[in-house]
Symmetry: C2
Subunit: 312 residues, 2 copies
């Protein structure tokens, strides 16, 4: 089984996701600073995974450097609320390493529960479209949305997956395709802007994505492009399902309007295509209103954000 993170007591070993799919390289991180750097440059990514990585990062610098470690790790990425929560839990714990291990174990169990609930919900889906990467590289265990897909495939019935490439950093093209291949699940890769037309033409039966933060009213911040997929699914009267652990729900955030959207470097957009000084906008996430979300699948089961608040 693929394991994106492995804590060995002295160091956090992590698959370097910037090197995939062409090279399987391992990072060995000895301090909170090294973990923070890996999170910042997306060598470690995915909301549940960066939460666990940050927990181990705090544990690595405890007890003496714990306050500075918490501050550094909290600032790495502003959108995922579970990262801040994991940092706080480890800081408050009597045994930081044990607490980080507990968070990891919880997320692994969450992943299995999400996979089962999601597969129950989508039992009739034959083809699914997904966005970005939400598998074992994004969350401890099997992942979130991709865990649902893997569970559906293992139960039989799922015929194939359409994966969006997920510009700018191509987590779909690089990571999701790599995971689907390991899992033996038939798949086709598309550019992001092909998704809406394929949804409209009935090429898939459902859209399933992960989430970086869910507001109390059910609005979902997720990888940029998610909102457009939700609009296309609504227009096609197709299920639009969001999968993630309750650790990504932020009860203190009333709606998507309060979610800070991380703006990343213009270089990610320009790459070697555009003239070097071209001005860019590069929001890493967008907000999908709760009304467009058919179902939110967490480890606790299935909720309907458009009809009820996600957390009372």
């Amino acid at each position: 089984m693929l394991q994106a993170l492995r804590f060995d007591g002295d160091a956090l070993r992590a698959i370097d996701q910037t090197a995939l799919p062409f090279e399987e390289r391992q990072l060995v991180l000895h301090s909170a600073d090294e973990v923070a750097d890996a999170i910042r440059r997306l060598a470690i990514r995915g909301a549940p995974l960066i939460g666990v990585a940050a927990a181990y990062g705090v544990a690595l610098d405890a007890p003496d450097g714990i306050e500075a470690a918490c501050e550094t790790l909290r600032s790495t990425r502003p959108t995922a609320v579970n990262l801040a929560r994991a940092v706080d839990r480890v800081r408050a714990a009597a045994d930081p390493v044990a607490e980080a291990r507990a968070i990891e174990a919880e997320e692994i169990a969450n992943s299995d529960a999400i996979a089962a609930h999601g597969a129950d919900l989508l039992r009739d889906a034959r083809r699914i479209l997904t966005h970005c990467n939400t598998g074992a590289l994004a969350a401890p265990g099997r992942g979130t949305a991709l865990a649902v897909i893997a569970e559906l495939f293992s139960r039989g019935g799922l015929q194939g997956v359409i994966a969006t490439e997920s510009r700018p950093l191509l987590q779909g093209a690089r990571l999701t395709v790599w995971e689907l291949r390991r899992l033996g699940i038939p798949h086709e890769l598309v550019v992001d802007s092909a998704a809406a037309g394929l949804i409209a033409s009935g090429t898939v039966d459902a859209v399933v994505v992960g989430c970086d933060r869910v507001a109390a009213n059910g609005d979902v911040a997720n990888k940029v492009g998610t909102y457009g997929l939700a609009l296309a699914a609504q227009a096609a009267e197709m299920p639009f399902v969001v999968a993630g652990p309750t650790s990504t729900i932020d009860p203190d955030c009333p709606s998507g309007a309060s979610i800070v959207i991380e703006e990343r470097s213009a270089d990610e957009v320009r790459r070697d295509f555009a003239l070097p000084d071209t001005p860019c906008r590069n929001p890493a996430f967008d907000v999908t209103p709760a009304a467009l979300v058919t179902a939110l699948v967490t480890e606790q089961g299935v909720r309907r954000p458009g009809r009820e608040p996600v957390r009372a």
Copy 2:
């Protein structure tokens, strides 16, 4: 003034659009086969421009090779109806070169009229989002959607443009940014999937795109990704304007369902990001239903496809 094509009597000289923005290279094409090859590999692209290029391609092989030239050029790209129409006009003409020159002159005049009608319609827009490339590299003269944008800027009032990169071949990142820079129009480049969120957040006042073929009922085939932008504009109650000459309207095509969507090579999707044998879908276009099109701007004026047929 930028001129993407120039016919000198013996050859068609064309800017090689595959080399932009880093190199301004000229192709010198002496036969229909050479023109067809340039169209196929998108060295010459944009519906109105490939129509004119094909017209000159037929003229280059006339009179002896005219039938074979017509067949070759017609088959280069299936979605743009004006290409087939231009080929037919030159074949039927007594003087093929004069006919090709006439088609070019008409499209240049169309471009000026589209620019004026579109700028009248959008006179209050301060910021516009556009997709793919629709400027002087896409149509003889000033272009279509980008001609509207350039005219708005020259009249004063337009503050800036958001250009989508337009994967897979990045006509936005490579060509639109290059044109906007030449025109001195402030701009920002975004990945395609960032557009919907920026539209929702009120970053722009209107979305303006070109068209590759318009069906009799007003459905629009255009660069893949256009449909998603139309959905986002509708959700934001923002004008979604399609600009193109009437030569792109196909009265024999009842609706978008009848439009053949060109499927291009998987290599365009995979580039050097994805594992080499990754299966892909690569539709070059999608169909936007007429109901989502606020206005269709042609050289004849402004029509409302959602409310009336585009051609009686």
